[in-house]
């Protein structure tokens, strides 16, 4: 065996065996690698969908030995069996006639629930071989890409969404009760005693510890440059920056901040948001709206009271539920 021809074949043999070994391993791993990795995640495919559906279209349910109903938000210590946020007018019947309208009380109560109750009642968990483990979740109600703030708390539950994980996500469009609003019609507002121009008045009884929102609609335009000048509280001017915000909503839904130069059309709605902390005294405040070239009701009308015309204020928002393992 001194012939050294053909030795190269040993090289080749070594190479081919190495290669074959490598091939066997690859073949064994490729299918496992790409498929098994995401197999577990399959079970949460529609978890987000179901959670969002229950939250948006159901009222929730509580019950103890003696009674039960959909008003779980007012029985936080009792056994909450299901969490739903839809408003309901009849707590004894199981279903609601107003899906997609979210109750403010239910939403704020949801924020107060503890982690364990939440995952349990919303079904955000799975059981594998009798070990209970919770999914990661993120539930939020957003408006203009920022969390909606109810009672000074942003509606945001759960953890931040991990970006290296496969998640299951759904977004629902809802109307949320965010507070109250007083809606006044132009001709119902009396002008201040006929001194200079037509400044309508509204009474507000304090103390109020939240934002106050007023709508004024049906403007009777009398001049060529109808607009809003300023807002006065008991004779003293309020600051447009720190005390209140005024904007108008046109019939097609566009919103525009009106400064002292903004024009008002007769089918616009002008909204005033008076910030928290302005009307905190126990007294009756009088608001004076200084408009230009707009006529309101006669001075003989009684000054309307803010509290008498209060209705619930609804805002469109997005409820997003995202779930991961």
């Amino acid at each position: 065996m001194v012939d050294d021809r053909g030795q190269i074949a040993i090289d080749f043999l070594l190479g081919i065996s190495l290669f074959l070994i490598a091939l066997i391993f690859t073949v064994q791993f490729i299918p496992g690698m790409s498929m098994a990795g995401s197999a577990r995640e399959g079970s949460l495919d529609y978890t987000a969908y179901r959670t969002a559906t229950i939250l948006v279209e159901d009222t929730g349910w509580w019950g103890n030995n003696t009674s039960s109903g959909t008003d779980w938000e007012s029985h936080p210590t009792d056994n909450i069996e299901r969490i739903g946020l839809a408003v309901d007018d009849d707590p004894t019947s199981r279903l609601t006639n107003s899906p997609n309208i979210l109750s403010k009380n239910k939403t704020t109560q949801l924020m107060l629930l503890n982690e364990n109750d939440l995952t349990e009642t919303l079904g955000l968990y799975n059981q594998v071989d009798n070990t209970h483990f919770s999914y990661g979740y993120n539930i939020s109600i957003t408006k203009n890409n920022a969390p909606l703030v109810l009672n000074n708390t942003p509606v945001l539950l759960g953890e931040t969404v991990p970006y290296d994980r496969e998640t299951s996500k759904i977004t629902r469009i809802v109307l949320v009760e965010t507070g109250t609003i007083a809606d006044f019609s132009g001709e119902e507002l009396p002008m201040k005693a006929a001194n200079q121009e037509e400044y309508p008045l509204i009474d507000i009884t304090g103390p109020l510890n939240e934002e106050v929102t007023l709508y004024i609609s049906n403007f009777n335009i009398t001049g060529g440059d109808p607009g809003f000048k300023k807002l006065r509280l008991d004779g003293a001017p309020l600051s447009e920056v720190s005390d209140y915000l005024a904007y108008k909503i046109s019939p097609n839904g566009t919103i525009e901040i009106i400064g002292t130069t903004g024009k008002i059309d007769n089918d616009d709605v002008v909204a005033f948001v008076i910030y928290q902390g302005i009307l905190t005294g126990s007294q009756t405040y009088q608001l004076e709206f200084q408009f230009k070239d707009i006529e309101f009701g006669p001075t003989s009308l009684p000054v309307p009271e803010y509290q008498d015309v209060l209705t619930t204020y609804y805002e469109p928002a997005y409820l997003t539920v995202e779930v991961w393992n």
Partner: protein, 147 residues
């Protein structure tokens, strides 16, 4: 004859031939032994897992959707279609555990594989029960308010 034995030319070729054959036979054997596991079982496992959790999710989602429109007086029933086999095996959908645990189980009796899917809080207000086997032809979920 002597010349043949003493001639060492081509020996390496024979050795090479033997070695190659050995390696190829070895390779072939490994592939034959493992082919079932590699090409059928692993993908089948994955496919089963996916299909079963898909079916479980479908049941849970349908029950949720249905619950939200149940009439106060009356009934509702809906037929649904599920694949007869997940991977290569038949399976059973078991909702009886939902009564206590808010969970729907999809079980394959032959391999004992089990996938569980949760239902979001409905089971506490309304009993959900029943089992369905994938091999039967008609599947139906129904609710009647008077029962």
């Amino acid at each position: 004859m002597k010349r043949l034995i003493e001639n060492e030319e081509g020996v390496s070729v024979i050795i090479e031939y033997i070695l190659i054959s050995l390696i190829c036979v070895g390779f072939f054997m490994i592939i034959t032994i493992n082919s079932d596991a590699v090409f059928l079982d692993t993908p089948n496992d994955v496919v089963m897992e996916r299909e079963m959790s898909d079916v479980g999710n479908m049941m849970s989602t349908m029950i949720t959707d249905m619950y939200l429109i149940l009439p106060d007086n009356g009934y509702i029933d809906t037929e649904y279609r599920i694949p007869a086999k997940a991977g290569r095996e038949t399976y059973i959908i078991d909702a009886d555990v939902a009564f206590t645990d808010q969970i729907i189980e999809v079980i394959s009796p032959s391999s004992g594989k089990k996938v569980r899917v949760t239902i979001g809080g409905i089971a506490t207000t309304m009993p959900i029960n029943g089992t369905a086997s994938s091999s039967s032809t008609n599947h139906k979920i129904s609710y009647e308010s008077r029962k």
